[in-house]
């Protein structure tokens, strides 16, 4: 076997070697050292956040001028907050610029964004006692719906709720197995059938939930791009089944948004909202470098509160959304 161990370091020739253990070890350590070193640098670079740059902009200046605000607008855009929202907040502050001092900018910005996030409604998951609560989970492909459901099931299981998961992603390869593993980890029931109509799975799941007097039914759906007409029609059908078979039971209709998502997130929220009457948003992958600024635009434009955040791949990596913490994480 050919191992090219020193390609980058000292350009030694490729070596044919069967006895590779020691070399592998060496390569591991070497690679790890290189990797960790430069990564640390990277992390510190990204953690120098928005507000510190606002402060450094503000320092040494007595008044807030237009250039300063333009620079801040740039920073907001880089956080994926979106042109419209950024411009609106900037203009609001431009209007008051003579009555505020540069060092106040940070708190004023934070306040603005907390207000936007709060203005969209309560950040608490809406659950009713002594009845079936259905939670419908939707989103585009690869945002982390299944993982979120695993974590959510675990959370409610720990609160001694009776839970069942409906595996209505009957399309993607191995989606059901993935969800089964999560259901198993959380120790909850799961219902689903391969290659069947997702609406039929939902129908069966509602029936089973009623028969067994479950507290919560979480419905996983296949990822779909919101511009695929037929797939969105399929979702509407699922919603129709829920409304017909269990009126008043739909507690939350949650859109899952990947924190890395850019301005397309707004369009996603808009179209999904029309299709399944969204009640809230969950942001996933917030443990990454992306700040998820798009949800500020979503809260503002579509009045959809953020309720849950995903911060990792472990079963406990699910948190309730808190507007202040979120804004601080975005800005600090």
């Amino acid at each position: 076997m050919v191992f090219n161990l020193f390609k980058k370091k000292d350009n030694q020739k490729k070596e044919d070697n069967q006895d590779t253990l020691q070399q592998e070890q060496q390569a591991n350590e070497e690679a790890f050292a290189i990797s960790v070193g430069s990564l640390k640098e990277k992390v510190s670079k990204t953690s120098e956040g928005l507000v510190s740059s606002i402060i450094s902009l503000a320092k040494g200046s007595e008044t807030i001028d237009d250039d300063m605000l333009d620079d801040i607008e740039d920073k907001l855009i880089v956080a994926d907050i979106g042109m419209d929202t950024a411009v609106e907040v900037i203009e609001k502050i431009r209007g008051q610029k003579n009555s505020i001092r540069p060092e106040q900018l940070k708190d004023i910005f934070k306040q603005e964004f907390v207000q936007i996030l709060r203005g969209a409604g309560s950040n608490k998951i809406n659950l009713k006692e002594n009845q079936l609560n259905i939670i419908l989970i939707t989103g585009v492909n690869g945002v982390g719906k299944t993982t979120l459901i695993g974590k959510l099931a675990h959370r409610y299981k720990s609160q001694n709720k009776k839970i069942i998961i409906a595996a209505a992603d009957t399309f993607r390869a191995a989606a059901q197995e993935q969800l089964e593993i999560w259901a198993d980890r959380a120790g909850v029931d799961i219902i689903g059938k391969y290659d069947s109509d997702p609406a039929a799975v939902v129908f069966d799941a509602i029936k089973k939930s009623k028969d067994e007097s479950k507290d919560i039914l979480i419905i996983d759906t296949a990822g779909r791009l919101h511009n695929k007409f037929n797939l969105m029609e399929e979702l509407k059908k699922i919603k129709k089944i829920i409304d017909r078979e269990a009126p008043e039971a739909l507690a939350e209709s949650i859109l899952v948004i990947d924190a890395n998502t850019g301005q397309n997130g707004l369009k996603q929220a808009q179209v999904f909202k029309e299709a399944v009457d969204l009640t809230s948003v969950a942001v996933t992958k917030l443990d990454g470098s992306a700040k998820g600024g798009i949800v500020i635009g979503i809260s503002k434009e579509l009045n959809l509160p953020v309720k849950l955040i995903g911060v990792g791949e472990k079963i406990n990596d699910l948190k309730d959304f808190n507007a202040e913490d979120f804004v601080s994480a975005v800005f600090d």
Binding site: A173, E177, Q178, N227, K267, S289
Partner: protein, 464 residues
């Protein structure tokens, strides 16, 4: 794809088209609009700034005076810059190494596993013998997902049960490939954050040990401003050889494509255009720039058509069309082939039809596809003889067909009448298409000719 950006730029260009010269005023207005359009398209701010300053330089220089009209000049400048920004020319996938190793990596949910399957099909079409390697040992059922995909496309998947050591998996796969005559390994790795030290180290180790000929970063086309940091970080550690932009069949403006290519200097090799496993296409920056500017993407369409159409049966159909022998059976065949090309919306999106914006296109596609479903139901309720020879369908047959398809009789009637009209028109179209094949470059201008696509307008009132 890139719809809104394209719409916006067209809008800007239209605004300036009326002016005789690019004045300082309308340059700065235009530039501000372009900046805004690009930012809304998720092009990274850094890239936007350099783009705008380049445009500014060109417009300010003497080149302006050489223009035919200022509008055309601006189109040319913006187009050239966009094409350059997106990375210059594309290079084919390397075949080096025995076996040739292609490693896929990226953030969670970017579409690596699906892309691995798509890439395998693509390479098999190039007469390579690929083996898929399941090296995502973390995500639940990731291995099973790749196995399922492998089964769907009939390409073997190498797995190592109970092993969570990716080095072991890949080295066993290499040995397996050598013994069993696979010349290409496609390694599907787990999704990871670029700031996750441990998992990035795992990739670096694989890279050092196996020296993959291709190290392809898979990035979601919907990614926002962060795309530039993700791409830079992966590139820094792994010296990426290329990028695959997934989920570009959505309506994202896809600014990530511009940013990544610009920031890393690495080409976007492929674009993911749908959930079907053959929906992986080559990325051509120049075509993409044309597309952004609303010039359509006729070249892609022609190539795609060549790939998915069976030439012999197409010729036979054409003969039938020309003689008006085209039957309902043939109609169904054509429908099947059309579906292989993509959704109606996708196909329309590639055509440079003037005034056809995204909304109109989706509406047409929606109405069209719905209508086609009814037509299909109608045809499926016919006997083979009726399909071959629709003339024999008289009133009692019509009633039966209506009953079978669940459509009212007058709709069956109307469809048969329209089919007859269509047959006549097909004769025209067949003549047109034989011209097209001789000279595909002229296709776009023919679309606007009398008897071309424009002539179809209004000939198919929607079924109600």
């Amino acid at each position: 794809m890139f719809d809104s950006l394209s719409d916006r730029l067209q809008d800007i260009i239209r605004k300036t088209s009326g002016n005789d010269k690019l004045s300082d005023d309308n340059i700065s207005d235009t530039l501000r609009e372009i900046r805004r359009a690009l930012l809304e398209a998720d092009v990274s701010l850094r890239v936007v700034k350099s783009f705008i300053s380049k445009i500014k330089d060109k417009v300010a220089g003497e080149e302006v005076t050489k223009s035919v009209t200022p509008g055309q000049q601006l189109v040319k400048i913006v187009y050239d810059e966009l094409a350059e920004l997106m990375g210059g020319s594309n290079t084919p996938v390397s075949t080096e190494g025995k076996p040739n190793i292609i490693m896929l990596f990226g953030l969670q949910g970017s579409g690596k596993t699906t892309t691995a399957g798509k890439l395998a099909i693509k390479l098999r079409k190039e007469n390579r013998n690929p083996l898929l390697v399941a090296a995502d040992v973390y995500r639940p059922a990731a291995v099973k997902q790749l196995q399922t995909i492998g089964k769907q496309i009939n390409i073997p998947v190498f797995t190592l049960d109970n092993s969570s050591d990716v080095r072991n998996i890949v080295s066993s796969a290499v040995a397996h490939a050598r013994e069993n005559g696979f010349n290409t390994l496609i390694v599907d790795t787990a999704g990871r954050l670029q700031i996750d030290n441990e998992l990035m180290a795992e990739l670096v180790i694989l890279e050092r040990l196996f020296d993959p000929a291709e190290k392809l970063l898979v990035i979601d086309a919907m990614t926002g401003q962060e795309s530039i940091n993700v791409a830079e970080s992966f590139n820094e550690h792994l010296d990426v050889t290329g990028v695959i932009l997934s989920k570009l069949d959505g309506d994202t403006r896809g600014g990530a494509a511009l940013s990544i290519a610009h920031a890393t200097g690495k080409p976007v090799k492929f674009i993911g255009m749908g959930e079907k496993l053959d929906a992986l296409e080559a990325f051509y920056p120049d075509r993409m720039a044309q597309r952004i500017l609303g010039m359509g993407d006729i070249v892609s369409l022609v190539e795609k058509a060549q790939e998915s159409f069976d030439i012999d049966s197409a010729k036979e159909l054409e003969k039938k069309m020309r003689k008006s022998e085209f039957s309902l059976e043939d109609f169904m065949k054509v429908q099947k082939q059309m579906k292989a090309l993509g959704s109606m919306d996708q196909i329309l999106g590639m055509l440079p039809i003037p005034g056809l914006n995204k909304d109109a296109r989706q509406e047409i596609a929606h109405v069209g596809e719905k209508q086609l479903k009814r037509i299909e139901a109608c045809i499926q309720s016919m006997t083979p003889e009726e399909r071959r020879n629709p003339d024999i369908i008289k009133s009692s047959r019509k009633k039966r067909i209506a009953l079978g398809s669940g459509l009212p009789v007058d709709e069956v009637n109307r469809f048969l009448k329209e089919f007859e009209n269509m047959r006549k028109m097909m004769k025209q179209m067949a003549d047109l298409s034989s011209n097209m094949r001789k000279n595909p470059k002229k296709m776009s201008s023919m679309m606007n000719m009398p008897g071309g696509l424009g002539a179809l307008k209004g000939k198919f009132p929607p079924f109600k």
